[in-house]
């Protein structure tokens, strides 16, 4: 087991280097550096441009900048935002809980609805229930996030007035950030009604962000279940007179879950990508919005640091998923 973890972790190193390399050079391929972007119509004298570039170290050869950056990262220094002059890690830690909160809720939403929907569709294969589940999930999968979000806002927030349009908490509350997770912070605070407000603010973004993973989970569960339900041991179990629920719930589902868990693991990456759009629409103060802004402002340290941190997280989740297989299915237990 330990050997597996070690060898699996070793794979992280090239991925790390790749991510750092790509994020470093891709943003520099985009024309215009942080200073030019800031200058505007007025223009800047060549001397001043050179001076400002020098101050930011942008006048050094690219490879020197790159290796300096790698060195800094290895010593735990992700740099300072060119725009706000705040350390990247500090900004990330302040904003990341919002993204996690939203992503976890979206994932829960996807799994809690997607798993049963997929199982039911598989068991009732070919019936109207099956067609409905599959039809809806296909639609959900194809839904452009932006459009879907605006549609929900117009219906539920503007017309019906059930949910707030955007934000994390009504402006009527001020909750001192303790954990950064609004649901927890509002519970800790003694502001009556703040928790309910936080929940109401979470509903629409959760649905929007969870829609695609929900569709993926439901479809994956269904096809995986169908495969398992056709296996001999299921027929045996039925022949032994086990109840339908026991067969489906215990014997079939446990085996069907393996590909589903893989997909859920992969969906973490998709979720974080979707969070960028979702956060922008719902004015959700997470890292997605922060990254988008850093691209527009060519805030190199923020973009590089942000991508690196998120990539680390995705890699960690995938590692955990690999380990989970063993728990689900003893046949894949590692490193005997």
């Amino acid at each position: 087991m330990l050997r597996f973890i070690l060898s699996r972790s070793a794979l992280v190193i090239p991925t790390f280097l790749g991510v750092t390399f790509l994020s470093f050079f891709l943003i520099r391929l985009v024309p215009g550096d942080p200073i030019e972007v800031r200058v505007g119509e007025r223009g800047i004298s060549p001397e001043r441009l050179a001076q400002l570039r020098h101050e930011l170290g942008l006048d050094r050869p690219l490879w020197v900048q790159f290796f300096d950056y790698i060195g800094d990262v290895l010593s735990g220094n992700l740099g300072v935002s060119v725009v706000t002059k705040t350390p990247v890690l500090q900004e990330f830690l302040a904003l990341f809980p919002a993204t996690i909160e939203l992503s976890v809720c979206a994932m829960l939403f996807a799994v809690v609805l997607g798993l049963p929907a997929g199982v039911i569709a598989a068991v009732r294969r070919g019936t109207t229930v099956d067609h409905t589940v599959m039809g809806v999930s296909l639609t959900g999968y194809s839904m452009p996030i932006f459009w879907w979000a605006l549609l929900l806002i117009l219906l539920f927030s503007v017309n019906l007035g059930w949910t707030p349009v955007s934000g994390r908490l009504s402006v009527m509350y001020w909750v001192e950030p303790v954990t950064g997770f609004m649901l927890i912070d509002t519970l800790l605070s003694d502001e009556p009604g703040a928790f309910a407000s936080a929940v109401r603010h979470l509903v629409l973004p959760t649905v929007v962000l969870g829609t695609i993973p929900l569709a993926v989970v439901a479809r994956m569960t269904r096809s995986s279940m169908l495969e398992v339900l056709g296996e001999d041991y299921i027929r045996t179990a039925r022949a032994k007179g086990l109840s339908g629920i026991r067969v489906v719930g215990l014997h079939a589902l446990r085996n069907a879950l393996i590909p589903v868990v893989t997909v859920i693991g992969l969906q973490v990456g998709v979720l974080l990508a979707g969070a960028i759009l979702t956060e922008t629409i719902f004015s959700w103060p997470g890292v997605g919005k922060w990254l988008i802004e850093s691209i527009n402002r060519r805030d190199y340290p923020v973009l590089q640091g942000g991508i690196l941190l998120i990539a680390t997280l995705v890699m960690a989740v995938n590692l955990i998923v690999d380990l989970l297989y063993g728990a689900l299915n003893p046949r894949i237990r590692h490193g005997r």
């Binding site: 024309p31 030019e36 119509e41 503007v158």
Partner: protein, 532 residues
């Protein structure tokens, strides 16, 4: 929602440790983004200026909703005979805000003015390098070259001496970058070893004091009871940060905010018809134009430039591209600025005459030229690509083959300022409401150098001498006379095809009272009320 907002005020009051009367009024502004910081000396974006606006006062200020300069922290001022020395008499008894780390022990005085200017000006000032130490606007407005000295005469008198006469100087002092900071706060934060707090937790003498800020989410202010001006009618001001324009509109409809900036052009019609929304509008302090590079053939010949001014159907561009959000430009100055010359006769749209003039200039069969289109939407030009195509079609009728060219935005400006183009679109939004800020910055000889903002690269002595002369005198009527004459020369020489001045749309909810659109594109909440 009304109750929610009232509750908001109470919630805020509790949070800030203050109590308001039960009927506390909160105004929510759905701002478009997060500020870089709260010090207008070191930032450059409208978003950041808006965030600092409620907190600070200047020596002189722009009257709300106008480009007129009025007394601020300086009650009055005298200008010396030679026009180089300004003596400001400071207002007495002006209080600074306080916060949990700082309680002011004295009123505003001359030291604060010196602290403000010296931070930006003097490289050895202890604050000069704090928070990056870039003072873009101070530098861009040419202050380091202009200032001779800033002196304290006594506690309530400051004398500023200039190296040369510069008429727009007073208007510069009303700009955001010249916001007056507390010297005492500066010293206190320096002692505590946290000088950057000055830029993140601002202390000023403005109508609202800063309460707190959550990045990308919300900024809160509350009315400052000891403000030197008129007391505020609202108690709390909240900026609810909402980057997407459609979502801002949804929030406005749902009553989650009272005022929103930058509506989607597509939503404007619906806003006009919405009974809960008051759609205000105003001509922007800007101009969008197509500049001819007057240093390159064939645009060295003014007949060619005039011909092109007649060959392009401006009305069609206004109708198709601006769709009600712009008016035709004839002058380089927007009509909201004093000294705008209404007597300039616009070039008619006359392709036949244009063809004739081109033939006279030696181009009977036209020529080949590139026409540059910015890759981004700007207030003065919502779709440069589309305009380029329309110009291309109009010019094709005269046999001119125009190729549309575009670069990434930063690259675009750099190349245009270097004069690499033949025809390039660009525009300008005014900083201080002074005609010099358009005519000199965009068309003066000094700006025509490589890298300068005069992208027609047009240096015409008769024009330049007029605007340089106008800088040297402080009598406004005389200046206006010179600028009007300069606009006639501009028209005759035609270094640009002026396209349009934008029209700003400002949707506010019906219950908002006395909101005035700032000609500078700022959002100002001083004096605004809510009628429940």
């Amino acid at each position: 929602m009304k109750t929610a907002l009232r509750g908001a005020a109470v919630g805020l009051a509790l949070a800030a440790g203050f109590t308001f009367p039960v009927a506390a009024k909160t105004l929510v502004f759905c701002s478009e983004g997060s500020p870089e910081n709260f010090n207008p000396q070191i930032n450059t974006t409208g978003t950041s200026f808006d965030a600092a606006e409620p907190v600070f006062s200047n020596l002189v200020e722009f009257e709300r909703g106008s480009t007129e300069v009025v007394p601020g922290l300086a009650e009055s001022w005298e200008v010396s005979e030679d026009g180089k020395t300004y003596t400001f008499n400071l207002r007495k008894g002006v209080k600074f805000h306080g916060n949990q780390n700082f309680t002011p022990t004295r009123d505003f005085n001359a030291d604060d003015v010196l602290f403000t200017f010296n931070r930006m000006w003097k490289e050895d000032h202890p604050y000069h390098n704090v928070s990056g130490g870039e003072y873009d606007y101070f530098n861009d407005m040419g202050m380091p070259d202009l200032l001779e000295s800033v002196e304290k005469v006594d506690d309530h008198t400051v004398r500023i001496t200039l190296k040369r006469v510069e008429a727009p100087f007073l208007a510069n002092l009303a700009m955001a970058f010249a916001a007056v900071h507390s010297a005492e706060y500066g010293e206190t934060m320096l002692e505590k070893g946290t000088p950057e707090r000055v830029d993140q937790e601002p202390i000023g003498t403005g109508p609202f004091q800063f309460v707190n800020y959550q990045k990308d989410a919300v900024i809160r202010y509350r009315a400052f009871p000891e403000f030197w001006g008129e007391p505020q009618k609202i108690d709390t001001l909240v900026y609810s940060i909402t980057p997407d324009a459609s979502v801002r509109y949804a929030k406005l409809q749902a009553g989650e905010c009272h005022v929103m900036p930058y509506p989607n052009p597509a939503d404007v019609e619906a806003m006009r018809n919405d009974p809960n929304i008051n759609l205000m509008s105003r001509e922007g302090l800007n101009v969008g134009y197509l500049a001819f590079n007057t240093q390159k053939e064939p645009f060295t010949d003014k007949r060619v430039r005039q011909a092109l001014n007649m060959a392009i159907d401006k009305q069609a561009i206004i109708d198709t591209v601006y769709q009600g959000a712009g008016v035709k430009a004839h002058n380089p100055l927007p009509p909201t600025i004093w000294s705008y010359n209404e007597e300039v006769e616009p070039y008619p749209y006359d392709p036949e005459k244009a063809r004739q003039m081109l033939a006279d200039a030696g181009y009977p069969d036209g020529f080949e030229a590139d026409i540059w289109a910015m890759p981004v939407q700007r207030p003065y030009n919502p779709n440069a690509q589309r305009i380029a195509e329309m110009v291309q079609a109009d010019l094709a009728k005269l046999g001119i083959k125009a190729n549309v060219v575009s670069y990434e935005w930063g690259e675009y400006r750099k190349r245009a300022q270097a004069g690499e183009h033949l025809m390039a679109q660009l525009g300008w939004t005014g900083d201080n409401g002074d005609p010099d800020n358009f005519l000199n910055v965009l068309l003066g000889c000094d700006a025509s150098r490589e890298g300068g903002s005069n992208i027609a690269k047009w240096c015409y002595e008769p024009f330049d001498s007029l605007i340089q002369q106008a800088r040297q005198i402080t009598d406004r009527e005389k200046r206006a006379e010179l600028y009007r004459e300069a606009q006639e020369i501009f028209h005759e020489e035609a270094p640009w095809f002026p396209i349009a001045h934008s029209v700003w749309f400002q949707p506010v909810r019906k219950e908002v009272v006395d909101f005035r659109i700032s000609p500078f594109g700022r959002h100002v909440f001083e004096g605004v009320d809510i009628q429940e």
